[in-house]
């Protein structure tokens, strides 16, 4: 199949080459502003084509064009100029500051368009804005910068980032935006185990999302295509919006340009995102009782700390000498010694290390008579917060363009990325060291002593031993250093992405482009548990078979992901009359995706300790889990744009996609869009209005089924056993369809000093492909159906203003505001509640008709008609059943404001990022308050005594609320006066309160990033070999100005994906400070 397509394409390309002949000439010149200063980075394109270049540092450019063609010069903040190519080979241009309107932006399929002609909303972010403040995943840098884009980074080391444009449109599909790099759609697949995302069981890792491989230093610009109309030419892939990345290119200039960039960044824990412990009580569940056990062998029971208990609801610290966990092993300096019963001087927070990230890159670019190229190499070294965590990334990129004749241009890029990581943090509930410290910890444990004893013995001597016998495996939690240094995982990814493109100009008004592009990577993931660890479910298991507990083991997963695209596209552009322009595209896209993976593990532990290989399995190796998926989509598309006197533009697009994943007789679907843009400022002549544009559009896009959702296969599970799978497929599936309306208004005033861009949209996503949970009395758990509808509507505003602008000083302000309201309109018939995820702690994330997508369900307080909480006769709150709505994960609105101040060679910029509303459930608080870790369970009560005193000693507390002294039918409510005894475990946290108590407001205000840079004025470099030198000091996540979620960052979560709003044991947030030097030669 593939060979057939590529064969045809090759033929076509050869045809083009043979037709090529020369008649172009090279134009050069300088671009300057109206004060005569050279302007670097001015976009110069040949009108009606995608051929173009940029001016270099000194404002110089060269471009090949034919006589009669028109060159379009555009630059943000200046009026676009059009100059026809005449006899002269030199064209110097003076740009007039003024309208920003004629900006050229990259749209779907990589087509450059004048922004004013677009009937839909896009927003551009310059690569510099992403590269200045480093993050290991460039998508994090988009946070707060684009209206309509929600970025949610969890704090996992090398973890995935959730990128959602204008809300979730698919109930269960992949709602992550599509990333396209120079026309290459790239995989942003998150290869995490499904169980990782819903935190069930333990020992899962967040392997990150693949878009993170893109090196921010190589990005020229990022364009976010927000609405369906903007992305409609991508058809069935466009439903979640598209992020178009344009990489830096070589520029036609004299001499080679070399840029060296060096960045170092150091992180410090934001203490408000980690546990703060009470300091009065240590290990135990049972209040003041110590364990009695004969430790020294004299036949008399000794006082021993409650080492078996993974909680701090034990005796008050009184300094008495007792035996503790470190008294049991001969290797311990405190062997058979008693130590004082005191709060640990080195709390769990000292476990974390200082993360350091070093990024070094070098790039070369050069231009010559017939082309240009750029190559760069970047190395990233990053160490994490947790001991023994490290990510290395090498990124090589080469891009070039070459004019084979004056009609034929070849271009391409190749990017090789090698990433290796070690020691990602375990996410979820079990075996998560951070969860351990936030939920189940003993405040008397000195983390430094845990390190010393691990480091001295290399054995798993933990604070939580199963007995006082030396060498006993811990009962619930390993020594945290053992976890980090022995039970670590590692992974590596080798990735190639690239394209090869030929463009041939058939005539002045038509050119054809052929392109082959691919993104392919191999990834290997290895997970291990050393002999002597606390057993946990580990390894691979067939569907329906529980992973057995194992105290040691090794797991390996190999996967390959490949996407190949073949594109052929005709571009038309013609002026029909003086004032009417027609542009159009006719093209085809053939896409093939392959995913293969195999996972295997040991079973029953390892034979030889410390050897991590599959053949080192104690029991027979379990059944491997092997997956092979192929998906193909063949698309044809056409678009036409009519422009009337640069005032009114009308665009129409249509795409037909033929899916491999749909039933044979009904496998092709059409995706249309229509949009208009009306630049009314050209008709009215009001001085104050520099620019005004109204736009309206309608589009339908889609989302095809995943691989193999039509026909049923069986699971092979035990020995000779097979079973009917738990999900029933459906041979009659249709694609999902999103219908979208959008209207927008863009205006600028006072010589473009102030402007705004407003969009309102409404999208309805129908025919959702849903694995509908069904009554399991049917014999299966889910059935695939086309059903259900989600509506998203909202508005976005971008504002920019330049309040001050003088020769030496300017202050620019960019803001954006996003409000998206999602509503589940309908679920499949008969389903009242659609469960998206069910988490440890008994909370569910659900989709419920009439509610936003992703509401949190669990038990709530019982309220009477007055809204008072009802308390039971025992003084404890009554709880509802487990199925009440207790939170909504969707924020009310998002806002980002960037201030940039330039003074001479100095530039200072900072971004405030705000989320208002949204809820998050904290398993840390659910458990941690119960286990007595937090001050909320050890305060001074209303009587002025420690709440953990017995009632006789003035302890306990009274739950505010009312008690029903009447009957159920005729209730009589009186204020609660029953004091509950809190001297033992059971009155706080999950043990006493409904889940709703632990649902928190996820609002935040953050100083997301700030940077101060100094560019050495060029006069200092005149006599050196350097052409530019810049120093930058940066900071990111500097300050969480406000948040409501205790002891955690409300943004932190398990992973990217559809169910957000759940925190368990997430890493603390770090404030990262960086220093950057950029030198150009």
């Amino acid at each position: 199949m593939k060979t057939k397509f590529s064969g045809i394409l090759t033929l076509l390309l050869v045809l083009i080459v043979q037709l090529a002949f020369a008649q172009e000439k090279t134009i050069s010149g300088t671009v300057a502003d109206d004060t005569g200063l050279p302007l670097p980075g001015v976009n110069i394109i040949i009108k009606g084509t995608s051929t173009g270049t940029q001016s270099d540092f000194d404002g110089n450019y060269t471009i090949d064009a034919a006589v009669g063609q028109t060159l379009v010069y555009s630059y943000v903040g200046f009026d676009t100029q059009e100059i026809a190519v005449g006899a002269s080979n030199k064209i110097d241009v003076t740009m007039q500051a003024g309208s920003v309107l004629d900006e050229v932006v990259v749209t779907a399929l990589g087509i450059s368009r004048e922004k004013q002609s677009l009937g839909y909303s896009t927003q551009q972010v310059a690569g510099e804005d992403l590269a200045t403040v480093k993050t290991n995943n460039f998508t994090n840098g988009l946070s707060g910068k684009v209206a309509g884009l929600q970025i949610r980074r969890n704090n996992n080391f090398g973890g995935s980032t959730n990128v959602v444009i204008r809300g979730i449109t698919s109930l269960t599909g992949d709602n992550q935006a599509l990333f396209v790099v120079d026309g290459v759609p790239i995989s942003n697949r998150n290869t995490n185990d499904a169980s990782q995302k819903n935190s069930s069981g333990g020992n899962y890792y967040d392997y990150g999302n693949a878009a993170a491989d893109i090196n921010p230093d190589d990005i020229e610009s990022v364009n976010v295509l927000k609405g369906a109309a903007a992305s409609a030419l991508y058809g069935s892939r466009a439903a979640s919006g598209v992020i178009i990345i344009t990489t830096k290119k070589g520029k036609k200039s004299k001499g080679m340009g070399v840029t060296i960039n060096s960045n170092a960044q150091v992180g410090f824990i934001d203490k408000s995102t980690f546990a703060e412990y009470q300091d009065g009580y240590g290990a135990g569940y049972g209040g003041q009782a110590f364990t009695s056990e004969d430790i020294d062998g004299d036949g008399i029971d000794d006082v021993v700390s409650n080492y078996l208990d993974d909680a701090s609801y034990g005796p008050a610290f009184d300094g008495r000498l007792i035996y503790q966990w470190d008294s049991f092993d001969p290797a311990s300096p405190n062997y058979l010694k008693r130590t004082p019963w005191v709060n640990s001087p080195n709390g769990a927070i000292t476990f974390f290390e200082t993360p350091v990230t070093l990024t070094n890159s070098i790039s070369l670019s050069n231009g010559f008579e017939n082309g240009s190229y750029r190559m760069s190499y970047t190395k990233l070294d990053q160490s994490g917060l947790l001991p023994n965590s490290q990510i290395d990334r090498h990124n090589f990129i080469f891009s070039g363009t070459f004019d084979l004749s004056d009609k034929l241009t070849a271009s391409g890029f190749a990017n090789y990325i090698k990433t290796s990581a070690i020691g990602r943090n375990s996410t979820g509930y079990n075996d998560n060291v951070v969860g351990n410290m936030k939920q189940w910890w003993q405040t008397n444990v000195d983390i430094k002593e845990q390190w010393n004893i691990y480091n001295n013995t290399k054995r798993n001597i933990g604070w939580n031993p199963g007995s006082s016998a030396p060498g006993t495996t811990p009962i619930y939690w390993d020594n945290p250093y053992w976890t980090r240094y022995e039970n670590y995982q590692n992974d590596g990814r080798s990735r190639f992405l690239g394209n090869f493109e030929l463009n041939y100009k058939l005539a002045d008004w038509v050119n054809v482009t052929g392109r082959v592009s691919t993104d392919t990577y191999n990834e290997q993931q290895e997970e291990r548990r050393a002999v002597g660890s606390v057993p946990t479910s580990f390894g691979v298991a067939p569907p329906g078979v529980a992973r057995p507990n194992a105290g040691s083991g090794y797991l390996r997963r190999d996967l390959t992901v490949t996407e190949t695209n073949y594109d052929l596209m005709f571009n038309f552009d013609a002026d029909i009359s003086e004032s009417i322009n027609v542009a159009g595209i006719l093209g085809t896209n053939i896409r093939r995706n392959e995913f293969n993976s195999i996972a295997n593990s040991t079973a029953g532990g390892l034979v030889v300790p410390g050897l991590y290989s599959i053949q080192n399995s104690r029991d027979d190796i379990p059944k491997s889990q092997e997956v092979a998926q192929k998906v193909g989509v063949d698309g044809v598309y056409a678009s036409a744009s009519l422009g009337f006197g640069n005032v009114v533009y009308i665009d129409g697009t249509i795409r037909r996609d033929h899916f491999s994943t749909l039933p044979v007789d009904d496998s092709s679907f059409y995706y249309p869009s229509v949009s208009t843009s009306f630049v009314f400022s050209k008709l009215i002549n009001v001085n104050a209005i520099s620019f005004g544009k109204l736009r309206v559009n309608y589009a339908e896009v889609g989302n095809g089924p995943e691989f193999d959702k039509l026909f049923n296969t069986f699971d092979i599970n035990i020995d000779t056993g097979t079973s009917v799978p738990s999900t029933a497929n459906n041979p009659n599936l249709k694609p999902e369809r999103t219908k979208s309306y959008e209207a927008g208004l863009e205006m600028r005033f006072i010589n473009n000093r102030v402007g705004f861009d407003f969009s309102y949209y409404k999208t309805n996503s129908l025919d959702q492909i849903v694995q509908v949970p069904i009554s399991e009395a049917t014999g299966q758990s889910r059935k695939l159906l086309n059903a259900g509808e989600i509506e998203n509507k909202g508005f976005e505003i971008s504002l920019n203003a330049t309040p001050v602008k003088t020769d030496n000083f300017s202050w620019m302000l960019n803001g954006n505001f996003t409000q998206n309201k999602s509503e589940v309109i309908a679920l499949p018939e008969g389903v009242e509640v659609f469960q998206l995820a069910s988490y440890q702690g008994g909370v569910k994330i659900n989709a419920v008709p009439g509610q936003p997508y992703g509401v949190i369900y669990g038990a709530d307080y019982v309220y009477n008609d007055n809204g008072d909480r009802v308390v039971g006769a025992n003084g404890r709150y009554l709880k509802t059943g487990p199925n009440e709505k207790i939170g909504d994960t969707n924020p009310d609105w998002l806002m980002g404001i960037t201030n940039t101040i330039n003074y001479k060679s100095w530039s200072f910029s900072f971004l405030i990022d705000v989320q208002q509303g949204g809820s998050v459930f904290s398993l840390d608080q659910y458990y941690g308050q119960a286990t007595g870790l937090y001050p909320e369970s050890a305060y001074i009560n209303d009587l002025g005594n420690p709440v953990r005193n017995t009632i006789e000693n003035g302890g306990g507390f009274i739950n505010p609320g009312v008690v029903n002294t009447g009957t159920d039918e005729n209730p009589v409510y009186v204020p609660n006066t029953t004091r509950v005894d809190a001297s033992e475990f059971g009155q706080f946290g999950y043990a006493a309160y409904p889940q709703s108590e632990f649902v928190y407001d996820a609002s935040y205000v953050k100083l997301r990033q700030a940077s101060l840079s100094y560019t050495l004025p060029s006069k200092f470099l005149d006599n050196t070999f350097m052409t530019g030198l810049q120093f930058t000091v940066t900071g990111s996540n500097l300050w969480i100005i406000d948040k409501k979620t205790p002891y955690a960052d409300p943004e932190s979560g398990l992973s990217s994906g559809n169910s957000q709003g759940y925190i368990t044991g997430s890493l603390p947030t770090t404030q990262d400070y960086g220093f950057n030097i950029k030198a150009q030669f």
Binding site: F5, L9, I475, L586, V636, P882
Partner: protein, 477 residues
């Protein structure tokens, strides 16, 4: 030039109109068709797992009958059935992982060959039917009304619930038909496929009759005539007569090891100790089986207070002898059979011998099974001697002891006979659980039928007594 454009345009459409694109959508790693025997093998294992496991998420009946007690996290000892959705999980295992696969197994085997080329087919189908009845009867005994006639059909997403007693009687008809269709002169499944009796049909016939005996006894208080008929016909056809008949699923090693091994040994956790209720009674009776059921603490047997947090090291633990990976998962046992026969005799049914003789045979079988000495002395204990005036108490108490580690069997016995007297857990979340509440998933996904069923059985509470559970206990909670 125009011609060229036409050609290229045609080419654009040509490349995008491939004919067999859909061939890509084939799963080449998982089977599209499998044998009925392999489906049966999975279903039997899943059923064995579900009636054997002590996993707190799946089966807490050992806690409900107070044989065991939890240590640090005593939620389920206090009848918390919602923090971990046990009713949902049991329902799922039985319908999806057992009954659905049994149904498919039956269909495939029935369709596979004709009876002449496959003489084992009728026996295989009969054994599948017996497993079906075992699983269905468990569902009815656990929830009450359940989807039955409309269940297991992917085209009916809202199956209605059937009346529990009606289902139960239909199951007896099916069971009897299966017994009658078994041909003991022929074989059935291979040992790879069937891991209780390696396909031995004579053993399966006894199993089926013993199951029928149990179902007849369960019907006794609700419909005495039907119960009597079932019991007597089962006995006449031949029930278990020795411990050698016991139906034990042959576990091997992880992941096919006994779930007790996974949860108590491989996990390295200390989640369970002996329950105070059983330890106190055994101490009073000086029951020689104590050492077979539990470990001692410095020579003493100590049980954890029901519902309280208990320190693992202070109490008796589960005997290691039943925690091996290859320890069987018990479906039915001979000792249980004798107590059922004793009860039948006490009710005046004709089951060859009087109640006392079956009662003594039951105790004897249990001692043999556990390898305990001192039977004669034990039987001589007046507190052990059979009391025909209080047969519910005598049989209930000894069956409860003999049914140690028999999860649903012991819970059935306690609910039906209301003996021995159990104690209220110190932090009980409900009255004594005499059924599982319906799964939350049914409330959400099959609401109309759920409401109707909940009303029909007298309310969806864990305290709602089922149709066969006619006597209120005197436990005071």
């Amino acid at each position: 030039m125009k011609k060229l454009i036409l050609i290229l345009t045609a080419a654009v459409f040509a490349v995008s109109c491939s004919d067999n694109l859909e061939d890509l959508n084939q799963n080449i790693k998982d089977p599209t068709a499998v044998s009925g025997e392999s489906l049966f093998a999975s279903a039997q294992k899943q059923l064995a797992d579900q009636i054997t496991t002590p996993n707190v998420n799946f089966n807490n009946t050992r806690l409900f009958v107070q044989h065991w007690q939890e240590t640090t996290y005593p939620d389920e000892s206090n009848y918390d059935q919602s923090t971990r959705p046990i009713p949902d999980n049991h329902w799922r295992e039985m319908y999806r992982d057992v009954l659905r696969d049994l149904k498919e197994a039956s269909i495939n085997i029935a369709a596979a060959d004709n009876d002449i080329t496959n003489p084992l087919k009728p026996n295989k189908l009969a054994i599948i039917e017996v497993m079906n009845v075992y699983a269905w009867s468990n569902l009815v005994e656990t929830y009450g009304n359940v989807p039955y006639s409309e269940a297991l059909d992917i085209d009916n997403l809202l199956p209605k619930y059937d009346d529990a007693m009606t289902i139960y009687k239909d199951l007896l008809v099916r069971l009897t038909a299966a017994i009658n269709s078994m041909d003991t002169s022929k074989g059935s499944f291979s040992g790879d496929e069937e891991k209780i009796y390696s396909g031995d049909v004579a053993s399966w016939k006894k199993f089926a009759n013993t199951l029928k005996l149990r179902m007849g006894i369960i019907l006794a208080d609700a419909d005495g005539a039907a119960g009597k008929a079932a019991v007597e016909s089962a006995f006449a056809s031949g029930v278990f007569t020795s411990n050698a008949d016991d139906a034990g699923y042959a576990y091997t090693a992880p992941p096919n090891g006994n779930p007790l091994n996974n949860n108590l040994v491989l996990s390295n956790r200390n989640d369970y100790v002996a329950g105070k209720t059983i330890i106190d009674l055994m101490n009073t009776l000086e029951d020689p089986r104590r050492g077979s059921f539990f470990t001692d603490v410095n020579g003493e047997y100590i049980g954890g207070v029901i519902g309280d947090q208990t320190v693992y090291s202070d109490y008796s633990h589960v005997t290691p002898s039943i925690l091996g990976g290859d320890y069987p998962g018990w479906f039915l046992q001979y000792a249980e059979t004798e107590f059922l026969l004793a009860e039948a005799a006490a009710r005046g049914y004709s089951v060859g011998g009087d109640a006392e003789s079956h009662y003594i045979a039951g105790i004897t079988a249990s001692f043999d099974f556990w390898g305990a000495d001192g039977l004669a002395g034990y039987l001589a204990n007046p507190a052990v001697a059979y009391n025909s005036g209080a047969w519910r108490e005598s049989i209930g108490t000894q069956a409860w002891l003999a049914n140690y580690n028999r999860t649903f069997a012991s819970w059935l016995s306690v609910r039906r006979l209301d003996f021995p007297v159990l104690v209220k857990p110190i932090d009980a979340e409900s009255g004594y659980p005499v059924r599982y509440p319906y799964p939350v998933s049914e409330i959400n996904l099959n609401p109309t039928n759920y409401e109707e069923a909940a009303g029909a059985i007298g309310g969806d509470a864990t305290e709602t007594r089922l149709f066969w559970d006619k006597f209120d206990n005197t436990w005071g909670f």
